[in-house]
């Protein structure tokens, strides 16, 4: 419930909507009360009878539930494929959800569907709608050539158990691209954009069945609500919270949305750093870093899937404080700053001082992450990222590592090492770093430092790997890097 000393002072409830406005395939729907706390796919399938969207895993790991979600951005609607099963309705105020049913063209099957039929891209048919949505999104009208590799990269979020994927790739290749229409052509923005934008901007307060949902429009409202509702869950992309709620691991009584906060999608690229506002999705981060810190952008290819990166935010990944959060090690060795904003002040904390224990941070309960400043590695610095998982794509790290080194004449002048998956938090290997300074990175050094490396980590055995494997990787990534450097820098994981 909303505490009296929570939002009420700051926000007259008359200015707050008590419902959500969600568009589905061009049609407006009002969502009230406890319905706001339901997953999108339940609502689509069971209430709207749009059963083309399938649910398999309910955790964003198979893509059968892929839908397009459009939001008003700079006077247009920007659509992206996301996993509908881990989107909750309360995240979708002012959004336009386009399902497989919405991608039907007037004349019958759309060209993507036609190609799936002709090229045997569907067998049992359960994953097919999700694939069609993802492929349609990939092939939206554009003159850009899309090579086979890009096709695979865009479909790593969709699992198929029948075809062995080859017929699906054939289908994508077989699509008559000239006939593919944009979502805007199917759902003209002029009819819905204004209402979408207005709804997205408005504050919302829904209290029902003992649960509350608040979508504030100022940071102050947000932090005050957070302070007044201990245990409140903050939701942005919801790619982790959605899973926890689906699986009954967490049922937060109050949920705070960051969606309508001002200056929330801002980013700044300067000579020495790139700064991302709190709401910037991982997809946007990846796009920006492709030009700015390529190693980081490539690493992001293995962060979840396109659907996950389209929804999840960088701030969320950091706030989640998982020891296997993929962006933590790189940002630690780059010594990124996390900008925390409270009711009255703002402070910047080095990410290296941010984590205090398993899923624990220095963030106070009246603060939000409003920005992340990522310093650029200097020209000539060694900056390498490694992720080892059971499967290369759409998997959670068994082990991850980030290495930054400043070299001079073959000697390490300065360095930072951060490992994920080897302890209750991501670990900085400070003793090893100290011993590495002034030495070359070679087998002799590593033979000597091996014990130090192992002394700084405390891996466990779990479903993703044994402690002995993690110990082995902790040393081997450095040996691998030494080899890469000795052989003239082939880049991570490239054959040498």
């Amino acid at each position: 419930m909303i505490e009296s000393d929570g939002v009420s002072d700051a926000v007259p409830s008359s200015q707050l909507k008590d419902h959500l406005t969600i568009f589905v395939n061009g049609k407006r729907h009002m969502v009230r009360g406890l319905d706001a706390f339901r997953p999108l796919t339940d609502w689509l399938r069971y209430d709207l009878h749009l059963t083309g969207t399938k649910v398999v895993c309910a955790e964003g790991d198979c893509g059968s539930c892929t839908v397009m979600i459009g939001r008003g951005v700079d006077g247009r609607i920007a659509y992206a494929p996301v996993c509908g099963c881990i989107q909750y309705l309360l995240q979708l105020d002012g959004a336009h959800v386009v399902t497989i049913e919405g991608l039907k063209y007037a004349g019958g099957l759309n060209p993507v569907q036609q190609a799936f039929v002709e090229c045997h891209g569907a067998q049992c048919g359960f994953c097919t709608p999700g694939f069609v949505v993802a492929v349609h999104s990939l092939l939206e009208p554009s003159s850009e050539a899309i090579d086979a590799c890009a096709v695979k990269r865009s479909l790593t979020g969709n699992l198929c158990r029948c075809t062995g994927y080859e017929p699906i790739l054939n289908a994508v290749e077989g699509v008559d691209r000239a006939a593919v229409q944009s979502v805007d052509a199917l759902f003209p923005p002029e009819t819905i954009l204004e209402e979408m934008t207005a709804a997205a901007r408005e504050g919302v307060l829904i209290a029902a069945g003992g649960r509350s949902f608040f979508k504030p429009v100022t940071i102050r409202q947000a932090v005050e609500f957070r302070a007044g509702n201990p245990g409140c869950a903050i939701i942005a992309g919801g790619t982790d919270l959605g899973v926890q709620m689906n699986k009954g691991m967490r049922t937060p009584m109050s949920i705070l949305s960051t969606a309508a906060l001002p200056d929330w999608q801002w980013l700044d690229v300067s000579n020495d750093a790139i700064t991302f506002a709190g709401g910037v999705t991982l997809s946007v981060v990846q796009d920006v870093l492709r030009e700015e810190i390529a190693e980081c952008a490539e690493f992001l290819e293995w962060f979840g899937s396109p659907q996950i990166r389209n929804a999840g935010t960088l701030a969320g990944n950091l706030a989640n404080a998982s020891p296997i959060g993929d962006m933590l090690p790189p940002l630690m060795v780059l010594d990124a700053e996390i900008i925390l904003t409270g009711a009255t002040c703002e402070r910047a904390v080095s990410i290296n001082d941010f984590y205090t224990g398993y899923r624990q941070t220095v963030m106070r309960n009246d603060e939000l992450i409003t920005g992340v400043r990522v310093p650029r590695p200097a020209e000539g610095d060694v900056f390498r990222l490694y992720k080892v998982s059971k499967r290369k794509d759409l998997d959670i790290s068994t082990f991850s590592a980030a290495v930054w080194m400043q070299m001079c004449g073959g000697q390490i002048i300065d360095c930072r090492l951060a490992y994920g998956g080897v302890g209750p938090t991501v670990v900085r290997l400070r003793k090893t770093e100290a011993l590495l300074r002034g030495r070359p990175l070679d087998d002799e050094t590593l033979d000597e430092l091996q014990e130090t490396v192992l002394s700084e980590i405390t891996p466990i055995s779990d479903v993703r790997g044994s402690d002995s494997y993690r110990n082995l990787l902790a040393v081997n990534v450095l040996r691998r890097l030494a080899l890469e450097m000795a052989s003239g820098d082939a880049g991570s994981s490239k054959p040498v």
Partner: protein
């Protein structure tokens, strides 16, 4: 003009792509329908100490709570042996073993009620491994054996011998649509069961038995499955039975749908195997003797484990003639969900056993493994299996020789040797393995099929059989066959949902046999109809053209000299215009000719004595070979399949597009089994890898960088349907070539044989490389000094 042989899209493809195909959970709940779920055992083995249902019972929206005491018929069930309790009576046998069934008005209430049940268990010591079961001699089956020659003597006399232990992991089906059943009660204790099942007759029988009603009171219908892969052969029955229990007591429609997590945790999987093997061979790599002791993990009950083991034994020779051969098998009883059918059905484990042996023999004999395979392959004069069946229409030597050339095996082998000699970051491996897959159910009775073909007075045709559609395209093929047989256009035929009311006593759609058994039955029914229609046509032609007396005498194989093609009917040898099929049908109706027919087929010439291990269990063999090349990161063990060349003999394909999809799909599924798909359990038997977050099936990016699939021309498989060969399972077994290539890579690093358990996960590969590094170290150190 024939539809058979044409590349026709799957008959549900448009609906699938549009999201309009209806799967069971897409069906809106009927009026009064209840949602059914279970509370299962939290421990792998234990007794119920206390069960408090009060809180759940008092919850608004909860309409029924049932335990074993509420089962009106038999609580004991099983497809072959009735040795599993549907609801726990005395002792829970696996985690998730149902104890309480709950029926509720909504999904939300059901979820809350499941949490509200208070259950305390006395935990008993569970058996969770094959090793433990062997020690305790806890088996589900008698010993099965296939034997030829004097194996012990041949092993002792062989110039070289080798032995090993090979652990083979299980596999989760990961059909995307989780198990589901909807039961609608009718009048007079009748029930309509909508089930996502590969075996409508079995669901019918098991639901009838649990309710204590005769089979004719239950009609089981399956429109389609969102994937099956064997997992819905017997284990689709539990959701149907549990829903039926609620429907019985409440007289309301009832739906039981597993979540993916619960489905993965509580249902059976591919059997893990442990193989103890010995081999005797000479310096040329000729295998003189092989001895396999196979143990499988059957889980808590028999299910299909006996038949799975039998097929494993019948495939432990794979493509190779071994003069002295012995394979014995035992099924272990453990406290895991009962393991069940999975594409290949024991065949993959049997083939893995011998292909793994060959990799190791080749290392010991210092001969390329492909040479060992080719010198032992079934060939003229050496074509009798250890169970005394001759390998007919044997394309194996040709497959090996052709693929060896086509994929440049020898040149790539030299290139890989060079690469491995200088690369310090990666190693490569290469292996070419085979499959010879026996087609027929090993249980003889199952090799039968029936079909119902109805022609309506507008000339449209409905076909139904016992075949169930799980994506494999059986309905499309049956349509092609029926259209050809009746001489109508493809569009005029539809294949409708499988139902026990239309087709009784059907066999599961399994063992790759769906098209063979049901297609022949369709042909039989169509022939009956054609004969009847030919009679009518003869009269019709005689009326129109009294001089054309030639139609009375058959000129060729066509019955009565009447030709049916593309919707028109004509006299053979007559150039005159024919009549429309529809016209003929209407005339037949007027003449009171039956326009519906039942067809039947049983596979001839098969038989196998399970006690002696001898006979001809298979009608024919589907053969294939695949060559896989892998690239392994020496530091992390990460594996990439860089190239696969696959060559299959599937006779004359009925539908090349669908068959190709079966081949690529099966291969990739097999590749997943031998690489990243690892079932991990806690020491209490809790499955830890129970969702796609932790259980990793192949992703689109795991496809081999180069993936060549080719078919060997073969028109000589005369006995099977339209000269085709069954294709559903065999290519899965070629996935083993990826595992063999990993072993080959490790061999090149170690310079000797390397033990590796299946699946070859990144972790297992990395730890194997680390062991090799340690064992090589003294040598390396002394060499460098």
């Amino acid at each position: 003009m024939s539809y058979v042989g044409k590349n026709i899209p799957h008959d549900s493809a448009a609906g699938h792509a549009a999201g309009e195909s209806v799967f069971l959970d897409d069906v809106p709940p009927m009026h009064g329908e209840v949602f059914v779920g279970i509370v299962g055992s939290p421990v792998a083995r234990g007794r119920v100490q206390s069960l408090d249902l009060a809180a759940a019972r008092n919850m608004p929206g909860v309409v029924g709570l049932y335990t074993h005491k509420d089962v009106p018929g038999s609580n004991r069930f099983g497809p072959v042996v009735h040795d599993e309790d549907l609801l726990v009576v005395d002792e829970a046998q696996f985690i998730g073993h149902p104890i309480v069934v709950i029926a509720a008005k909504s999904r939300e209430v059901l979820a809350a009620a499941r949490r509200a049940v208070r259950l305390e268990m006395e935990e008993l010591d569970p058996v969770l491994s094959i090793e433990r079961a062997i020690t305790l001699e806890q088996f589900l089956s008698p010993l099965r054996k296939i034997e030829r020659g004097d194996v012990d003597r041949a092993l002792a006399a062989a110039p070289h011998s080798l032995e090993g232990v090979f652990d083979i992991g299980g596999q989760e089906h990961f059909y995307l649509e989780s198990q589901i059943g909807i039961v609608v009660p009718g009048e007079n204790r009748t029930f309509t069961v909508h089930s996502s099942t590969q075996h409508t007759s079995e669901v019918q029988a098991l639901v009838a038995e649990v309710l204590g009603v005769p089979f004719n009171h239950v009609n089981c219908i399956c429109k389609r499955m969102g994937g099956g892969f064997g997992g819905k052969e017997t284990q689709a029955a539990q959701p149907a039975m549990l829903a039926a229990l609620a429907a019985y007591h409440l007289n309301r429609p009832a739906r039981f749908a597993y979540s993916k997590d619960d489905d993965m945790r509580f249902t059976g999987k591919r059997h893990p195997f442990k193989v103890f093997w010995r081999a005797g061979f000479d310096g040329d790599g000729s295998i003189l003797a092989a001895d396999f002791k196979l143990y499988s993990d059957g889980g808590c009950s028999t299910d299909l484990s006996m038949a799975v083991m039998e097929r494993a034994l019948l495939h432990a020779d794979n493509a190779y003639f071994i003069p002295n051969f012995r394979a014995t098998g035992r099924v272990c009883k453990t406290n895991l969900p009962s393991n069940t059918a999975f594409r290949g059905f024991g065949g993959p484990q049997g083939v893995a056993a011998i292909e793994n042996l060959i990799e190791d023999v080749a290392v010991a004999a210092k001969i390329d493994a492909l040479d060992v395979r080719q010198s032992n392959v079934y060939r003229a004069g050496h074509d009798e299996t250890p169970y005394r069946q001759r390998v007919g229409n044997n394309t194996l030597p040709e497959l090996f020789a052709k693929l060896r050339l086509d994929c440049s095996y020898d040149a790539r082998r030299r290139e890989i040797d060079r690469y491995n000699a200088h690369s310090r970051s990666h190693i490569k491996g290469l292996s070419l393995t085979a499959v010879k897959f026996g087609i027929s159910f090993t249980r003889k009775a199952l090799n039968q099929g029936n079909a119902l073909v109805n022609i309506y007075t507008d000339g449209s045709v409905v076909v139904s059989t016992g075949a169930t559609e799980m994506g494999q395209g059986v309905n499309t093929r049956l349509r092609q066959i029926a259209a050809d047989e009746l001489g109508v256009t493809y569009e005029r035929v539809i294949v409708t949902a499988t139902s026990t009311e239309k087709n009784n006593n059907t066999s599961p759609t399994a063992a790759s046999s769906g098209t063979d058994l049901n297609g022949f039955a369709v042909i039989d029914a169509c022939q009956t109809l054609r004969e009847r229609l030919s009679e009518v046509a003869r009269r019709l032609f005689a009326e129109h053209d009294p001089s054309g007396g030639d139609v009375a005498t058959p000129l060729n194989d066509e019955p009565c000299g009447i030709l049916f093609s593309q919707g028109s009917v004509s006299r053979s040898g007559s150039a005159g215009p024919g009549i429309a099929f529809t016209k003929l049908v209407q005339r037949a109706y007027e003449d009171r000719v039956d326009l519906g027919a039942r067809g039947f087929y049983f596979t001839p010439d098969i038989g196998f004595d399970k006690e002696t291990g001898e006979g001809s269990p298979f009608y024919y063999f589907t053969n294939g070979v695949a060559c896989s090349e892998v690239l392994i990161d020496r530091f992390t063990g990460e594996l990439r399949v860089s190239r696969v060349d696959l060559l299959m003999d599937i006779g004359e394909s009925i539908n090349p597009g669908i068959d190709r999809g079966q081949i690529t799909g099966a291969f990739v599924q097999g590749m997943g089994w031998v690489t990243a798909e690892e079932l991990k359990y806690s020491d209490k038997g809790v499955l830890l890898s129970y969702s796609p977050t932790t259980y990793k099936i192949p992703n689109i990016s795991d496809l081999p960088d180069v993936f060549n699939v080719a078919l060997l021309p073969n028109d000589a498989c005369v006995q099977s349907i339209k000269r085709s060969k069954a294709v559903g399972e065999p290519p899965l077994l070629l996935g083993f070539s990826v595992f063999a290539a990993v072993k080959d890579a490790l061999r090149s690093l170690a310079g000797q044989r390397v033990e590796l358990a299946l699946p070859a996960t990144h972790e297992r590969i990395a730890l194997a490389i680390a062991r090799i590094a340690v064992s090589n170290q003294p040598v390396a150190t002394s060499a460098s000094r």
